[in-house]
Symmetry: C2
Subunit: 239 residues, 2 copies
């Protein structure tokens, strides 16, 4: 309930034991039929972090954090695992279904890692920016076919704490026994008010753009239009 | 670290306050640029739970649990939200990128809900089976375009507890500064031994199939080949 993204980190390392505890918690998350279709790359080399930062919109905290985790959906390990047992059969890892499975698996694992890190006094921020130049990031990290970097995550000791960002009203996201389309407009209007007040306070009156306007700005300029072609090129969702 | 899927539930309701606490925790998970691109349907009507169970491979615990949560990736709310602000502009919610964003958003939220539920003494199990008949499930719940049910989740008081299922060795999923393909074979062989011993113990010697063989059986029979066409039909990943 106290989660807030951390974008400023102390110059203090995250130990091997802490990293093992964090990834160990990630591994205990649920996984579809125990496929465990994900891998995580812990990036600690300063030069590599700098390169990844440059490819992800030059977010300074990627360089500043002691450990940058790159969370990958991974069907490669699964394909390699079953090869000796399925010599004459076609392989079926390349379905849309398995892309969903692997993407969900890695997200569940990562969120357990986030909660574990925060419980150890660390802070995190997710980095969707690693999809800005997903092909270059994949090459830099030597990701094989059927592996794609879904998001990054900075981990470290917080050097500053932000206030909690208010979310949509509970009733906007929670429906009972069926999807209620009618309530969208009222719920969003209520949230526009709350989010505008929050922004006003946070920026000292410089900015009070409501949520719906910020979302409109975001949707008006589509990003990462390379994703479909990239995923198909990596062997995902052939059918 | 103590997570285990719960498939047997006590005949005891989950209160409104508990549900609000669980979904409130879900809402505090990270979300890509605050888009909050998910919705959750809490199913408590017995007849509806029975129908969903039938459509999801007749898993008895869907009927038995007091609350069945259907977690949906939701770009519909976003489109409705921005419509008034983008009257003359084309809309861009239908990209592959936004499908990834929404699928990750809902998974992060759901995993926070899982951890919150467990912290309240409840048990959960994820249900990928709702994708077996995803079109029928979507119709039954009245899901609009740009919304898809990613997975279900049974929530309730556990009537029995399973042992922890061992995961792949840490080093199988954790890489340092780059993906190490070489270690896959050794790590999987180590896990085959562990998983075979676990199965032997759990089934009283009836079954000691190693992980790689179970995965081969799973991949040899592709499931849910309707996913790509279904998602495209719902307006996702047009480009």
């Amino acid at each position: 309930m106290k989660h807030t993204s951390v974008r400023q980190f102390q110059d203090k390392p995250v130990g091997e034991e802490q990293l093992a505890a964090i990834i160990g918690a990630a591994q205990m998350a649920s996984t579809s039929s125990n496929v465990q279709a994900y891998s995580v790359i812990a990036v600690t080399e300063p030069a590599l972090k700098a390169q990844l930062s440059g490819l992800s919109g030059s977010q300074a905290y990627i360089e500043q954090c002691p450990v940058f985790l790159v969370w990958c959906a991974d069907l490669y390990r699964l394909r390699e695992t079953v090869k000796p047992h399925l010599q004459d059969a076609p392989s079926y890892e390349d379905t849309m279904e398995n892309l969903v499975v692997a993407t969900v698996d890695v997200a569940l694992a990562a969120q357990n890692a986030a909660v574990a890190a925060e419980s150890l006094g660390l802070g995190i921020v997710y980095i969707g920016g690693i999809r800005n130049n997903i092909a270059e990031v994949s090459e830099l990290l030597g990701l094989p076919d059927l592996v794609y970097p879904v998001f990054g995550m900075c981990v470290g000791y917080p050097a500053g704490v932000n206030g909690l960002r208010p979310r949509l009203p509970l009733e906007a996201v929670l429906h009972h026994n069926g999807y209620d389309k009618e309530k969208t407009e009222t719920q969003v209007a209520a949230y526009d008010k709350v989010s505008s007040e929050y922004m006003h306070k946070r920026t000292g009156g410089q900015n009070d753009t409501p949520w719906s306007v910020m979302m409109a700005k975001r949707l008006a300029e589509p990003t990462r239009l390379h994703m479909k072609e990239f995923l198909e090129g990596k062997g995902f969702m052939q059918r």
